[in-house]
Amino acid sequence: MNSQRQSPVYRSRLLQPASERTPDSHPLTWRLRDDGQVVDLKDYESKQGYEAVRLVLDEGDPQAVIAAVKEANVRGRGGAGFSAGLKWSLTLQGGDIPRGYIVCNADEMEPGTFKDRLLMEQQPHLLIEGMILAAFANNARFGYIFLRGEYVESARVLTAALAEAREAGWLGPDIAGSGFDFDIALHTGAGRYICGEETALLNSLEGHRANPRAKPPFPGQSGAWGKPTVVNNVETLCNVPAVMLRGADWFQALSGDRTDDGGTKLYGASGLVNRPGLWELPIGTTGRELLELAGGVRDGRELKAWLPGGASTGFLLPEHLDLPLDFDTVGKEGSRLGTGLITVVTEDQSMVALMRNLEEFFARESCGWCTPCREGLPWTVKLLLALERGEGEAGDVELLDKLAADCGPGLTFCAHAPGAAMPLQSALRHFRHEFEQGVRYPKGKPHADPIPAGEV
């Protein structure tokens, strides 16, 4: 460890003091401590921890859990917004179907996203409790937390919490005297963004290269080692205990009449804001509210554009600041809510340079399986680099349109390529002139080797 006093050690933190957080309004974070220390088992149990597990196992009806999660409309917080209850209702179980797996997607690597880290580092038992409930609902025999390798602190905290939970009988055989048995292992990765795609994640979990798998079959039918497998994001699973304890209606009501989506969301802001951070807010909070919490755009600059939820979402403009940030509303604007952590771009930032940075990321992180992604993205980067230097050629901007279109939904094996296309297409739509300015000879190149006048 570095011993320098002023070393800028990074610590995950929520920018809302405990006095502003209540069990009624902040199901994800009300237990978090102001000093940022871990909520350990004792602390967690003294604050209604594992009460949902006790309640649900006492009642003993897995279908009731699925119905409640469906009714609460808990939508996947990993970025796609798929209804968790619906996903669970499609998991194969019963008859002679073997018990499967719950896999928590803790690969958090979407640029601009730093929310799951907070939940894992400060309140690991909420995730464990959510996984136990998900396991019971889906008849899973074992769970894995697939954690990205760089989250060393999360690994340390989770390892300790899993041991605590096992010791206390919340994991293992016959949980809380119910006859239900379930345990969880921590699985840490070794880099590569594509591991977060749920079927690539399963390949990685099984010890293969992280290439995605064909769907169908969906993981709920045939996932890890061919068994029914539920893959959910950390934040999604962390919502389940409160839904079971307080009911679907309460969860739905958390978002008031802002949106049909239920619950709260860990929202965040980074990029050029004065006070980057994380907040738990009702789902449907607007970009303007978030920007205000973040202390506004940095140094009084003007807002140019923003990404609503990570690198694979489309750019929105200042005029979109008053829209509720929920899955459907943002989807209607040609973008996606994604992870709900906004990235703020200021007026002085070249969109061509920013797009080059984003596409470098997508090109490097392609798994290489399909051509438009493997070949198209590096080509996109090359074109953007040329435009950035003012050395683009006539037709380059149109070529970018085409390369992005080739990566569109349904044309590649997984959603990585569409994720690369969306910000590019939105940037080309909203800021086309910036790209066109990078073309050196818009009317075509002059003769390659002109004969200087008067020298014949």
Partner: protein, 170 residues
């Protein structure tokens, strides 16, 4: 039964031996899964923790323990960016180059690092102290520009703070 493991300084790929503790750790990992192949990434990381990187001859050794072909271990070893197939420095610096850090100055941070260490991305200092690598979003975007040195995350890091920071990693 086992000979002592060579130290990282003397290791060559043809002198590779799995440390008995590492072998035991790999077998313990493998027991968490339906099939031992699933412990492959962890096995590579176990070798890397001891040696700093994964030499070629570690591949068949791991394959033997997991009961899989060396080609599948090699395939995994070459896919993941945090598995190093060449020697690295005593400390690995991962500089985030994703969007939020790009907006808050990761290019300047990387340039300052390069200048101070006299190396570019993917290179190791002549004294074997530091290797500099790019990394995707470290999930520390509210502390951008961010970087990681070994297991420690820092951010926001100003160029003027680098000297003090690096001192902590002799």
């Amino acid at each position: 039964m086992m000979e002592p493991t060579p130290t990282p300084q003397t290791i060559t790929t043809d002198g590779f031996r799995l440390h008995p503790e590492d072998e035991a750790a790999m077998r313990a990992e493998a027991s968490h899964y339906e099939q031992p192949q699933a412990a492959c990434i962890e096995a590579l990381k176990i070798v890397q923790r001891r040696h700093g990187w994964v030499p070629d001859d570690a591949i068949p050794a791991i394959a033997r323990i997991l009961g899989v072909g060396p080609a599948s271990v090699e395939g995994v070893a070459t896919f993941y960016s945090l598995i190093f197939r060449q020697p690295v420095g005593r400390h690995v610096i991962l500089v985030c180059d994703s969007s939020s850090c790009f907006l808050t100055g990761s290019d300047q941070l990387r340039e300052a690092l390069s200048e101070r260490l006299g190396i570019g991305l993917g290179q190791t200092t002549a004294d074997g102290r530091f290797t500099l690598l790019p990394v995707c979003c470290l999930g520390a975007c509210d502390g951008g520009p961010a970087l990681m040195i070994d297991d420690d995350v820092y951010g926001p890091v100003g160029a003027e703070e680098l000297a003090g920071l690096l001192e902590g990693y002799p």
